[in-house]
Point group: C2
DNA sequence: ACAATTCATGCAAACGTTTACATGCACATT
DNA sequence: AATGTGCATGTAAACGTTTGCATGAATTGT
């Protein structure tokens, strides 16, 4: 029964040693740039390596060193710009290290949780970055119990020793809401994120705090829960706009939902920003490609990825290095989707027809 | 000098064997579900595994089996929706296998090429999926020489035996162009992709073939090269619209550039589709979120990722399995960004002011 | 000139598995 | 009762490295 075919390239450290006329220990020293190798020997070994096209077998190396030289990224799914940006930041940092990146998603079956944790702790990765996977708490519990290094993104964890990178969601939401208040808006709708995520709750709190600071009554009617998808933005906006006393501005907890609001407003024949002001969150690249360009709170996603990777790498070097999270600023970018409240509204809102129009126009979107 | 700390979880196959009172070979048989193990022994071993929380060391396994149970994805960079979609498809397939996914990017330094090829062939992955990395040809040459399994996405490779998954770019571009022709457009601008990529060239060829079929003269003036970024879409559109005899329709070689065209048109006070028709390519999710919704050629990116992963996995099972590429259909989705040519144009094009307006509006986009 | 030190190199063990082969026992066949 | 067959289990080698320790040569100090 043939052993699974290996890459044809088979030169081992012993082949090199034979060719160079030294022991394989010496070859190993050359390969790893250890000192105490005579210059003449070194060049001889190097030449032999070159001739044979020698490449150290990674798995043997991993076995003996007990390290995998890989870090894992655990996410719920890969859709949307959010993950991609963070991933780019992580990749930036890893490119300058000698770690590689493994990708794990949790969106398939629930049972995978256990499998992943096993894989990781059995030597597949040396550390993990978790970006809001489903079942976060379960993962964290297992990882902590195994003393496996990890860093959270966009969540503060459950213990004071949890390492994390998160944006100043509260402040960002506060600034966004205050911006709308200063433009004269008093009825400001909010479409939240998935409410059991730290980031979503913090944004809600910032929104409420700003209202309070300006002595504006918080109206639960103006508050709908979304799930960070465009569709939930459409539906949330439709719901808000169909209120007896609809909002003159909407704060969406991420840009993708804001795009949904834009679409709903269009379907209802409301102009943004003249008839409805809109603020998003994230500042994904697309936020400045829409008409109008989206006023939004920038969350430095690439930078957050970078920081998370750096934090993890540093923890791998020195497990005691830093035992606290990082909060990065979130900055409001005022673009074109917000304008002063115009007292009486230009167009009356016809949500029923709007929703119908939207449904019809959307019907060819498979 | 302390060996790098390993995961606390240290139970080996030998510990399990001792606890169960059998040899480690027997434990191995149980772990791998081999037959010829007495039922009673099996339960005893299973119990011991459970008690010790045993998890087979992956790297030892890899060393002896010569396989890594990982496949690699090699891409130029991670930005944009295109890669994310394909990646999601790959992930779908891998989730049902026992392979994991490693991510490699080539956008950093050129020198990484050699390093990556070494890593892969030294046991980091069992096979590779390449999505248009920089230096594709170099990679392919090395990989073929090492008989390392790989699958290309969006490129047909250089040898008849190269495995690939690509969309019917020619047909898609033909259909898009024909759609515009049937709407009465005669001056149809094209913004191409990076022209040394197979997909870009095929789309150009489809465009030209459609023009020819309708006896419309191909005007080199109407033809600008882009690079798949939104900015290149803006610039390409600005250039086309400033022609003495500007196009009444534009076909952009991907959606992201089409978004740029939308922006340029807006800056020039041209209405889409009344004053300018627009077709994109890809059908990324965002294409149906814009105003107007983008008419575009759908490239089934997720499906392409899935097919590529399946093809690779099958090749790993049976190296001789299939030695030819897969072409998936590309289908035109007519939405709202195209309309009949209206003979004389409503608004005259003022590109100079438009470009200025665009530059100013864009100035807060860092 | 001899002892002490430094340095280059080799030897062998260890990392944790998988698996070919050997062993021995129980049962069936003659 | 003797022989053959099949099955459960154990033994040991192999996978390709890294690295502590031993060895001997070369260099330094007195």
């Amino acid at each position: 029964m043939a052993r699974r075919a290996k890459p044809a390239n088979n030169a081992t450290i012993i082949d090199v040693a034979n060719l160079a006329g030294v022991s394989y220990a010496t070859v190993s020293r050359v390969v790893n740039n250890k000192e105490n190798v005579a210059p003449a020997t070194r060049v001889r070994v190097l030449a032999a390596m070159e001739e044979l096209g020698y490449q150290a077998n990674l798995n043997a190396r991993r076995l003996v060193s007990g390290r995998s030289y890989a870090i894992g990224l655990l996410v719920h799914n890969l859709m949307g710009p959010y993950i991609g940006e963070i991933m780019a930041g992580i990749d930036d940092v890893l490119a300058t290290s000698n770690y590689e990146l493994m990708l794990f998603t949790t969106h398939q079956r629930r049972e995978r949780e256990a499998r992943y944790i096993d894989l990781m702790s059995s030597g597949m990765t040396d550390g993990l970055i978790l970006i809001l996977p489903r079942g976060l708490e379960t993962y964290i519990r297992s990882l902590r119990q195994r003393h496996f290094p990890y860093v959270l993104v966009d969540h503060r964890g459950f213990e004071p020793t949890d390492l994390y990178v998160i944006a100043a969601n509260w402040q960002g939401a506060y600034d966004a809401t205050q911006h709308l208040l200063q433009l004269g808006h008093r009825r400001i709708g909010m479409i939240t994120g998935v409410i059991d995520m730290d980031n979503a709750r913090e944004r809600v709190a910032g929104y409420q705090a700003a209202l309070e600071a300006h002595q504006v009554h918080f109206d639960a009617e103006l508050f709908v829960e979304g799930d960070y998808t465009q569709l939930s933005g459409v539906n949330g906006a439709l719901k808000l706009l169909s209120l007896a006393d609809p909002p003159t501005a909407i704060f969406a907890s991420n840009d993708v939902m804001a795009f949904g609001v834009l679409e709903a407003a269009h379907a209802c024949k409301l102009r943004v920003p003249q008839d409805l002001s809109l603020v998003g969150f994230d500042d994904v690249p697309m936020a400045s490609w829409t008409q109008p360009r989206l006023t939004t709170v920038r969350q430095p996603l690439v930078e957050m990825g970078r920081l998370a990777a750096e934090l993890l790498l540093r923890t791998l070097e020195d497990p005691e290095h830093q035992k606290q999270g990082i909060v990065v600023p979130a900055e409001l970018f005022v673009r074109q989707s917000t304008a002063p409240a115009n007292g009486g509204r230009g167009a009356t809102v016809d949500v029923v027809n709007g929703a119908a129009a939207w449904a019809e126009a959307g019907s060819n979107v498979v």
